[in-house]
Symmetry: C2
Subunit: 651 residues, 2 copies
């Protein structure tokens, strides 16, 4: 069990990103809690001691960033680092030793000199960052010197108590690091100083190729490069690559390529992954879908989230155990869940696990899954089907849950159904008139009855083929749908223009590390990319509108797909609410709604919403979430600690 | 003294932006500390009770965002809110009342129903957000109903103890709010419920027009609209508009337009603004320069900073009083500061105030100011000259500080100078070879000796005129310099192309709320804007390079200005450091460096750096900043509070 990166020095301050730190004794206290907990379960605790070098925004400490040479950060805006003097090198190495000692005293078993991505040790190693003319620059031996010396110093300091690990990106897949030959050469140079090699590819600049999304990278894709590390070392190797399949993991280890499987995202999706493998419960593994919504949600100081695992990040603050569910206080009730999309399925599963007498999950369509039935058919999103598949298996195992498809319920049907609790999970639909967040207005001439005008549902579910050869996809949302529809139609042989009022194509995909690769792929597929264009009206021959500098534009097209805004399918819920006087007669006690039917959101939040209602179905008012535990800076007077920290004096 | 916006409900959660909150009793304890402190100085404490409505990312609480109608946020990506049911309206109003009661118990004197920007009350008021067909939508009276009811409820709850204030943007200057006629009409409708009107313009979508930068808005610009509020009310009015000039403030109040002057940014630049006015110390007011670096630095959960005031945000965590300076323990030493740019000036002032025996600030050029001598001559940046002007006055008042210009010092001169402490503040210079953060390589053919190749210094200080008529400005930095040079040359009559490898023109200017207006202005001035282009080589006729999709491009131009990366002028410092064995003989005890000479940074950080060294000139090792007080989530075991919060149990 490893921490995230853990900064060793004040000039490695990544605020507003939250990272662990080992700068002083006060930091030890928090991390010791982690170590104690890890040890209680018989595991080893590791700490990724780290310095971000040229990529340190230092927004909190306001120290200058430092790097081997004064070359601007290719990652963070406006950072031109201080070229490290010899004193800086010695000080950072001393910080590493100090942090290692603090780590050892906190109880860590494995201490890293972390060089994954393009952080400081790799900046020394890489000719892209290192232009020094002293003994720390030039030849590979010189560029390796900083890292080798640091490993040696850390080993001297804590090597008797802790294993010394190094993480290295053996192939940067871009300029920001080293190529495979030098990656392997460094491993040979440092092998006597390291007890565990933690290997990956990419860099922080090319993070999209390190924490690769399933859209662009197959499970285990890093083996192409990290599978060659064995030739350079006899030490244990741990590798990553979004591995979720136990057979694949076993094959890698038995092949001798690696000794250990690293799994961050797969463990967010299923924290009990190792235990389920140990116990042979393969079918219960909730596999990461590779959407990288965890990255999008946790970056920049926001709260973690996971599409597959609604409890990710909620273990402490809401007290949700990923695998344990308490019997509901009102478990003697029947629940009708209307709509078997992601929210409805998740809610029914958790209600089932909480022991509700009977849960009926009723779906109007032939199959369960809602929009997630067809979204995985968009190019590259096949693994997203794991979301529905895992839940279908879970539902089939719950004796108190019944799934009923091809049954469209009216409000009267629902009231008459016989369940005391009703949950509406009827989803959302793409606007058919071009309504968008940008204008809050329809697009003039957007007439859905016309053959040349389509929505994502019409393309994907209705399987309607746009007339003509030239299609304009209008994306006002900026996530996967507009780009996905455009790519699909291009693959179908259409000439496609992707038009957005936003400043970039699919900007939210930058948050999921998909943006650069996605834009490249769209371009390769021949999709015309147009940003900053707001369409005002559409007719059968084209669209007209305004550029972001206020000028008129016209684009020709034979057909249009409007990916502008989704709208909740809330009619059934609102009708039920307005019929509250009829509830008593029908034995209905409560009507709730969840998921996109409340407000259209990313799937992770929809799953969370369905889970949340079921977890709190016996709360005083399940319609509103219970408060979560919050971190607050202080409640009373403040006292200063020995290390200059501040703690509340009273509680 | 007002808080920032203070959220009343969990669906008004702006994580990762840090806001005050009044959700439960635990929140009262922290805010009570503020109220007590405010009262100690005889001031009134106000709290901007707030709900962000459609613009709530709710990244922490994961509640759905809510709004009058289900129209996507025009501010935050991917938010489509829940259209509020009647229960939601009642619940939010109850939250407002609850928060007002909590505020009253915390000691606040003024309680807001905050409708500034385009937050929830204005979303109800604005036809852009409100499409309801019930009694909360349609006519102005209906759209005003939510806000009026809430004001009434809050008044009933705490009106006897607290003044009730409302903030309203009377003119949204865009779609996201109301126009002036409806703004004033609302004020008339609500006047009986309000004790203080806090008025502004713009919206959160058009924040650039609310917290206007000096580049685009003159001091007091909001009066054009908010100066008309007097016609609609007899209640006291407070207005804003980056007012720093006491005469102007007095004129506004005596004219009857407003009764009170609001000043957030001017108080960040000078927290003692009111006291200095009261005491008639007008010349000592450190005026806000309107760069909005405070916004750029504090948004998204980063730490505040200010170009003018190095102590902003450092009062508690570093213990820096903005106006008080302790005599240095080594005040018997002489200090030589080499270079009178921002860092050198600030350092010399603080050293002077700390009572050093003699401080010599020696500058090679004719005038002090460094790069800030000429940067204010870029179009729109005139008010930035306040940075140098204020410091020139300060320096002139310090008897122990002497400013010497037109004196270029060699290393030997410095050692021979007679000062025990030497501080190098020799700044930075733009690379002359096209070196950039993106490529870490020069641009081929970038030969600074050629007439057609210039840097910002050559254009602005050398006053060199690019040959020909057609100039290409190559901006690899993305802040004000590239765009500023391009605009200046366009005003000089050149045809200008602004080319950047970045995804947008001057993207960092979006952080300072200047981006949209800047791009519009550049376009209006006829500057050609080209993003995503990396220049590989330049010759006398044009530039060639690669687009971000990997394609070849060519652009013709007669001349080129390279705004690619700055490099520290560190030669003098490094020579002095390498001559350390000669120090003793010359009586030199220490040689430090500050500002851009360490690493080129935004001016706020350069000022901070100079200030920091002087504040810590008598520390054990002034070269490294002393640790600041840090907030840490927990040091020991955790205990739960009554309100579900978590506090450290021990310290």
């Amino acid at each position: 069990m490893c921490t995230e990166y853990c900064a060793i020095s004040p000039d490695s301050d990544e605020m507003p990103a939250v990272s662990a730190r080992l700068w002083d004794e006060d930091d030890v206290r928090s991390l010791r809690l982690m170590c104690d907990e890890v040890h209680e379960y018989g595991a080893l605790a590791g700490v990724e001691l780290h310095h971000s070098g040229a990529h340190g925004p230092t927004s909190e400490t306001r120290w200058p960033a430092i790097a081997p040479s004064q070359l601007g950060s290719d990652l963070e805006p406006l950072i031109v680092p201080k070229a490290m003097e010899h004193d800086d090198i010695r000080r950072v190495q001393a910080d590493w030793v100090s942090a290692a000692r603090l780590a050892s005293s906190a109880g860590f078993d494995i201490v890293y000199v972390y060089g994954g991505h393009s952080y400081l040790p790799v900046q020394f190693l890489s000719p892209f960052y290192n232009r020094r003319s002293d003994e720390y620059g030039g030849t590979l031996e010189n560029r390796a010197r900083f890292w080798l010396e640091t490993l040696e110093l850390v080993r001297e300091a804590v090597g008797d108590d802790c294993a010394i690990a190094a993480r290295i990106s053996v192939e940067a897949l871009g300029p920001a690091g080293v190529e495979l030959d030098e990656g392997l050469a460094f491993i040979r140079l440092a092998d006597h100083l390291v007890d565990l090699w933690d290997v990956n590819v990419g860099s922080i600049t090319e993070w999209s190729k390190d924490s690769g999304s399933s859209r662009f990278f197959a499970e285990g894709y890093q083996l192409e490069w990290t599978g060659q590390v064995r030739d350079a070392t006899a030490k244990p190797i741990v590798g990553v690559g979004r591995l979720t399949n136990p057979d694949r993991m076993a094959a890698i280890v038995t092949s001798g390529a690696w000794d250990l499987i690293g799994a961050a995202r797969p463990s967010i999706a299923d924290p009990f992954l190792p235990q389920k493998i140990e116990e042979g419960r393969y079918g219960e593994i909730r596999e990461c879908i590779g959407s990288n919504i965890c990255v999008a949600k946790s970056e920049s100081g926001r709260h973690l989230g996971c599409t597959q695992n609604a409890t990710a990040g909620e273990e402490f603050r809401r007290g949700w155990h990923p695998e344990r569910f308490e019997r509901a206080a009102n478990a003697d009730r029947d629940v009708l869940v209307v709509g078997a999309g992601p929210a409805g399925m998740e809610c029914a599963i958790v209600l089932g696990k909480r022991g509700m007498r009977r849960v009926h999950l009723v779906e109007a369509e032939e199959d369960v899954g809602g929009a997630m039935r067809w979204i995985p058919r968009l190019p590259g999103l096949g693994e997203w089907s794991r979301l529905v598949n895992w839940r279908v298996v879970q539902l089939s195992r719950l004796r108190n849950v019944e799934v009923i498809t091809q049954k469209l319920l009216s409000a009267a049907d629902v009231l008459d159904y016989g369940a005391e609790i009703v949950v509406c999970a009827t989803g959302a639909t793409w606007a058919t008139d071009g309504l968008s967040a940008q204008t809050h207005r329809p697009v003039a001439g957007a007439d859905i009855s016309a053959k040349h005008l389509l929505t994502p549902e019409l393309v994907m579910v209705g399987e309607e083929h746009p007339p003509g050869e030239h299609v304009l996809v209008y994306d006002c949302e900026g996530y996967f749908m507009g780009a996905g529809i455009a790519e699909k139609l291009a693959l179908d042989g259409y000439r496609v223009e992707l038009v957005t009022p936003l400043g970039a194509i699919a900007p939210f995909c930058d948050e999921t590390l998909e943006g650069p690769l996605l834009r490249k792929r769209l371009h390769e597929r021949g999709v015309g990319l147009h940003t900053g264009l707001t369409i005002g009206s559409i007719d059968s021959g084209g669209a007209i509108g305004e550029t972001d500098t206020g000028e008129h534009f016209e684009l020709e097209a034979d057909a249009f797909v409007l990916v502008t805004q989704r709208l909740s399918n809330e009619a059934l819920y609102l009708e039920l609410r307005s019929a509250a006087q009829a509830w008593t007669g029908e034995g209905v006690e409560a009507v709730y709604r969840i998921g996109d039917c409340v407000a259209p959101r990313v799937v992770a939040d929809v799953i969370f919403d369905g889970h949340r209602l079921a977890r709190e179905i016996d709360a005083k008012n399940p319609a509103l979430p219970l408060p979560h535990r919050r971190e607050r800076p202080a409640r009373g007077l403040l006292a200063e600690t020995s290390a200059g920290g501040v703690v509340p004096l009273e509680h």
